[in-house]
Amino acid sequence: MSSVTLFGLCGAALVGLGLFGLIVQPGVLRKILAFNLLGSGVLLLFGVIARRGGGVVAGNGSDPVAQALIITALVVAFAATVLAVALLRRLVQETGRDSLDSDG
């Protein structure tokens, strides 16, 4: 097994962990954290794909197209996190609670 595959499996595990957290964590902040774990798992998978593609030609490179897409996705994820956190802070301000379902 190569390092690249290893990180790919790591990415898959992070996706699973992130999904699980996003579903079962009751607090919104924990959900946002889980979303970020999930996102980084997905991007890691993308990175593995980029590394495999880059390795084919340059020997020790990474596919620049995929890298550019990952950077763009990172920025999107950041914007999403900021928006979610802002909504959460407003929700806490207004209602004093930090969860979506009253029953979890």
Partner: protein, 314 residues
């Protein structure tokens, strides 16, 4: 097993461990700290995957700024008992389906085609015509310029969304989330010393982006971090949201990008095309404007919605 592979395996395990810690930490603050450490390790993985551009972005944006935002939120969560977790049946079901998805993905990773398809050669081959040395920048600013253009608009939009969460009476005020009542002297010192250095680093990252890892996003993020540092310590004040100047700064990047893109209709033969020979200076101009706009947008995103002058609330 080679040493490198063993080290990578250790890195992967550490990352997974931190991810689990982030999920189960008892306090929200602890979880966020765990997440920031996790982000730095992921940046390390990006270096191992030969994606330095991504590593820079991950460290600055994915770990740094995201962690900062989450810490701010964690400090304001209600202290009383958190909401009930879902019942064990649901947790079990969630665990099973999440594990199934992860297992499926793992299988897919193992079954990826042996000869990986790639666009790397094509991306590299066209770089000289653009006068660029960094293919990632080439993708971001030329081949897939539309993504970057829309991306920079997304940041502006996220800011509008954030500002729209203000209270009606607070409109026209200054963003207030960063104002801290009495910053520690150490932090103030840091805020006085670090920014000049940070600004240099930011500009360098943007400038070197043309030929080496770096670029508008990375440079902008560092600049934003410096600005935020001075905002937290009260050395500078955030601008009023109603001001036209700050809005011009925010849209300068995308607007210039769009303008040059439109000019491309006549000068380059297509929308977002660069005329031969003038590609490099135009790209640098766009990158400069984008760096500035991204820095302002990220800084303001961290600074939160506007508050009225009467004083901070909550």
């Amino acid at each position: 097993m080679s040493v490198a592979l063993a080290a990578d395996a250790g890195l992967a395990l550490l990352i997974l461990g931190l991810a689990v810690w982030t999920s189960i930490a008892r306090t929200a603050g602890g979880a966020v700290i765990g997440f920031m450490a996790y982000g730095l390790l992921v940046a390390l993985v990006w270096v191992r995957l030969a994606a330095v551009d991504v590593a820079l972005t991950e460290a600055a944006l994915g770990s740094g700024l995201t962690g900062f935002v989450l810490l701010g939120a964690a400090a304001r969560l209600p202290r009383d008992a958190p909401a009930a977790r879902p019942g064990w049946g649901l947790r079990l079901a969630a665990g099973v389906v999440s594990a199934a998805v992860a297992a499926g993905l793992a299988a897919v990773v193992l079954l990826l085609p042996v000869s990986a398809p790639t666009l790397a050669p094509a991306a590299t081959a066209n770089l000289p015509a653009l006068g660029l040395g960094n293919p990632v920048t080439g993708v971001l600013i030329a081949y897939r310029a539309i993504d970057t253009l829309l991306e920079s608009v997304v940041l502006v939009l996220a800011l509008i969304g954030l500002w729209s969460l203000a209270r009606d009476g607070d409109w026209g005020g200054r963003p207030g989330a960063l104002r801290s009542a009495d910053p520690s002297p150490a932090l103030v010192l840091l805020a006085q010393v670090l920014p000049p250095l940070g600004i240099l680093v930011g500009i360098y990252l943007f400038w070197t982006g043309a030929i080496a890892p770096g670029g508008a996003f990375q440079g902008g993020t560092v600049l934003a971090a410096m600005w935020v540092l001075t905002l937290v310590t009260g050395l500078t004040r955030p601008p009023r949201v109603g001001g036209r100047g700050v809005r011009l700064l925010l849209v300068a990047g995308p607007a210039l990008f769009l303008a040059i893109g439109v000019a491309g209709f006549w000068l380059g033969g297509a929308f977002l095309a660069y005329p031969a020979g003038y590609a490099k200076p135009l790209i640098l101009a766009i990158e400069a404007a984008l760096t500035l706009s991204i820095a302002v947008a990220l800084g303001l995103l961290l600074a939160g919605p506007p508050l009225a002058q009467s004083g901070p609330r909550a």
